[in-house]
Amino acid sequence: MTIAPDLPLRDPLTARPYVVSTIRQQTHDIVTLDVRPAEAPIAFAPGQFDMVYVYGVGEAAISISSDPATPELLSHTIRAIGWVTRALNDLQPGATIGIRGPYGRGWPLDDAEGRDLVIVAGGIGLAPVRPAIMAALAQRDRFNRIALLVGARSPRDLVFRDDLDRWATNPAIDVHVTVDSAVRGWGGRVGVVTKLIPRVPFDPDGATVLTCGPEAMMWHTADALVKRGVDPNHLYVTLERNMRCALGTCGHCQLGPVFVCRDGPVFAWPEVSGLLEEREL
């Protein structure tokens, strides 16, 4: 491998080289890339993201989806929807990609200390909360109940199925999976993820909730949670906006006064619900 590991990298906008070690096909259009740094690994917090660069194509903001306890092996889970994400889906093991990060404010696990921790993920939204689940399970004593609610369009759109199967038999975490529409052979629940919210056992008064999914799903989830009695101040979402720098200077990710990259991407619901309500802000 001819990566120059000793280059002095001075510019915060310059990527560091990483080597793709394994590729896991999650769904027809989602892969998880496990990468190893050519230089010293950098610690990250659950919910933080990287800017991931593909040779000659460009960069995309991608959440880190691996265990924060092992920063020497970073995972990113990527849906192919455009130039960069498609190119990331087409890589082979051994390829170099560029990574700079980690960026942003992650999930506030401290807020859930001594409380019920409820995690609601839609589709690929499981990827950005996966490090939080792993960190919470590693410090299981800090929390009361831990519940994970996962929704996907169909069984073939579920990501991290190995983890879901494993966690399903782990008494430390209460896992509920549902799909919008079933196929033959699916023995699980059918219906949107918000339908699970009234049924899953947790104490709404003493729950901290982490939500990740499409914006519409987060709205419905927030509505259902607040209806059940969850304090919106303990409800957290992660937002997606166009990002070019991740440093708060390219201007693209602004949502009113907020730079999503720098002030987020994780926000307490009251910090952003009013802004999101304003059409085209």
Binding site: L7, Y55, R241, C245
Partner: protein
Amino acid sequence: MAAPGVIAPSGLGSLIALLRDEGYRVVGPTVRDGVVVHDDLAGVDDLPVGWQDRQGPGTYRLERRDDEALFATAVGPHGPKRELFPPRQHLWEAVSDGDAVFHVVEPPAPDERIAFLGVRPCELAAIGVQDRVLLDGLAADRVYAAHREQVLLIAAECHQPAGTCFCASMGTGPGVVDNDGSVPVARADLAITELLEGEHRLLLRAGSEEGSRLLDAIDHRAATAEDHAARDASLAAATEQMGRHLDVEDVHDLLMGNLSHPRWDEVASRCLACTNCTMVCPTCFCTNVEDTTDLSGERASRDRRWDSCFTIEFSHAGPTSVRTSTRARYRQWLTHKLATWIDQFDTSGCVGCGRCITWCPVGIDLTEEVAAIRASDGRKSTS
């Protein structure tokens, strides 16, 4: 610090020569194609000698004066941002080592000593604003920091504001504003006040050790009480002549409390979303990144270039853009400049230079837009 001095207009020639001898690139206002632009200055004759501008919404014209004034034109479309934060900047390059393996090469930091001559007070404020954005954030911007560290700022106070100027409303001019820490104003190394009453002369005041050294190095006489009085009178007259006015009282809450005001639709029916206003604004900082690969495929370059919130691609995320309508894009621009900028950087994003008014092809005037919203403030009826 050297005491204020006075020189004849021609004396500026020795300053320019001295700076060039010392290895500075001297950049300042000069007339090209009927417009005052920013370019290299070799001597006093390169300045807009005897010219004056007539600026209005969507119009710009140069006119001859009946004197030899050097600084009677206000700002043109360019400003120091072109050099400090160039429209296109090379970030880094990935060099292929074959087999989908590459390494990264960064260009050397820019190393150029630029002396800006004739920097307007509003531009000092704009540099101060950019310092907050590009130096004081999560990480200092390398390109900007490298240019900024080496720059020399020689200001020229304004005695002839243009029809689109409103620096007096924004507290950034027409005289050089002291940097007392309350507003972010870049410090001028040297400030020039052109005095036209009586003998045509330039009052020079040093603002830094470097400016002081330069003032000492050129022939001058000591400034008198009369010179200082002439400066005061000139600035007072310029304040009187200010072409436009913006009422900034409560402007943050005014705009953020009127996000559904019908005026946004009205202005959107005129705005072409051409991006001109953002390209000429001295504080706009938004950028995009471009990736290009050379013909052999062996080198892939990343370059950054100015971007604009007026394009539909700017807010692309998810299946569509966040801001598809022109209404939303104009609203983003104006609310950012005058309101959310304050939340983000504790300063207004507008310094009152008037460029966006002059260079808007349809003459949209932000001072008028704010006044229109103020005149029918939606908050009054709702709250």
